[in-house]
């Protein structure tokens, strides 16, 4: 009894200490970075966990089991489970996603499986886990396993709008002005479309603060409180699947705007009157790299790998976002 109460006391104390500390810090400094895997290691006996620990293939057949409105990916008739122990189930409206998931698991060579071999599964299982964690009355331990609740994740995502890739313009002097003119040509229409799009979530018209290297030099960038509020409202309108896709896209492209573009181009009825293909989005996000490699050449094991990495992640996000 004494032990238990002691532990409770220390826990409470720790909690207090944490609250005290985080209230002293500036809000964004207390936020942990996104994209770092913060899921706590656990010994739940799930397929994804087993795979993560042994890195070996242990099944023969991959099937899609359909029941009612959902498709479940199964290995030798046992459903795959996510890292929090839920079955890897996809609604029938995302049938193509289910087929791609099945393909992902059946086209793994059995030698050894790396974390990067299952990008679709990782997004989908995060969708499912986030959905389960967002239900009211959920165990706070599980919430911390997934890296925070929706509010915390939204705040972390909002930081990407401040220094968005599509809001940073390079100086005219670089690359004889070719990069800057390409940026003007590509980014400016997108920025004004996004301004109009976000204005719907605000009382008045909004302006995004851009970072022009000629005018502002080398400094940080920050959006006004109205813009942040509108972006927050927009994030709250997303369902959890779209939210996870949004998160994945932001982390890949380092751009809040690219994520809006991706979701809107996959949405059933888009209110953004601009439609970009995934290749165009990838190009927007890596425009500067394209000019750098053009001038200085590609570095092996870096630029070529990154190029594919960005595209496979953007396309994977698009596949998860697509719904009929």
């Amino acid at each position: 009894m004494i032990k238990v109460s002691l532990r409770k006391n220390t826990l409470a104390f720790r909690n207090n200490g944490y609250v005290l500390r985080s209230s002293l810090c500036r809000t964004y400094a207390s936020l942990s970075p996104l994209g770092v895997d913060q899921t706590v290691e656990n010994n739940l006996q799930t397929e994804t966990n087993r795979l993560a620990k042994t890195f070996t293939k242990f099944w023969d057949n991959v099937t899609l089991n359909s029941d009612n409105d959902a498709l479940t990916v199964a290995l030798d008739n046992k459903p795959i489970r996510t890292s929090l122990g839920h079955t890897l189930t996809v609604p029938k409206s995302r049938e193509l996603l289910a087929i791609m998931l099945k393909n992902e698991w059946s086209s793994l060579p059995n030698l050894s499986i790396k974390p990067h071999s299952l990008p679709l599964t990782s997004i989908v299982s995060r969708c499912i886990d986030l959905e389960s964690v967002s239900k009211p009355g959920c165990d706070p331990d599980l919430v911390s396993k997934i890296g925070g609740d929706r509010v915390k994740l939204s705040e972390a995502l909002l930081r990407y709008l401040d220094t968005d890739t599509l809001l940073c313009f390079s100086p005219h002097a670089e690359y004889e002005g070719t990069l800057r003119s390409a940026q003007n040509e590509m980014y400016l229409p997108i920025i004004s479309a996004i301004e109009r799009f976000l204005s719907k979530f605000s009382s008045g018209p909004l302006r995004l603060q851009v970072l022009d290297a000629d005018l502002h030099g080398l400094r940080g960038n920050a959006q006004s409180e109205e813009v942040r509020e509108a972006a927050r409202k927009y994030l709250n309108t997303l369902n959890l699947w779209d939210f996870t896709v949004f998160e994945k896209t932001v982390l890949t492209t380092k751009s809040f705007i690219c994520a809006i573009l991706l979701l809107e181009s996959k949405a059933k009825c888009s209110s953004l009157n601009m439609k970009l293909s995934m290749e165009e989005i990838a190009k927007c996000a890596t425009l500067e790299t394209i000019y750098q490699t053009d001038r200085w050449g590609e570095v092996e094991d870096t630029h070529d790998v990154d190029k594919r990495d960005v595209r496979r992640n953007i396309n994977a996000a698009a596949i998860v976002a697509y719904e009929e």
């Binding site: 059995n110 990067h116 059933k268 293909s277 496979r312």
Partner: protein, 164 residues
Amino acid sequence: MSSRSEALSSYKALIKALVRSSRRARIAQAAEDNKRQITLLTYKKINAVRQQAQEKDAKSKIKLIPQIGALTKKIESLKNQDPAKFKKFLFYGNVSQLREALLRDAQPETLIKRMEHIRDLAGFVQNQLEYEQLVERYNPGLNMSQNENVKRTAARVGLHVPEN
């Protein structure tokens, strides 16, 4: 009309990418299977030879000879097999399910969206494959077996791992 030919070309690209990525995996799986089969058959053969040596009766000794011969033949044929040349790996096994999902009836707007979506499916499979190939190329030790790893580590300091 142009959107139709575009959809067709992206469908072709998708199937091509699927064949390429699954072929690589299936070859690796077949090679592994092959190895396992050979080990199993070799074990069976050793057992048969042992049994033959133990038999005292000449008749039952002779009886075992065709069995051993068959096993040797099988092992040889498995050893000569090259999974990279299998014709069946040039086809994607799961086309019917994919095609069914792509051709399912829906509203015209949904159909247009779906046709556009094929390009993203193809882009994903292709880039995932290329990414994996590049990672493997730049990190040759990544897919090395434990035995191979030990052998190379030993070789680095001038030692040899004993055979068997």
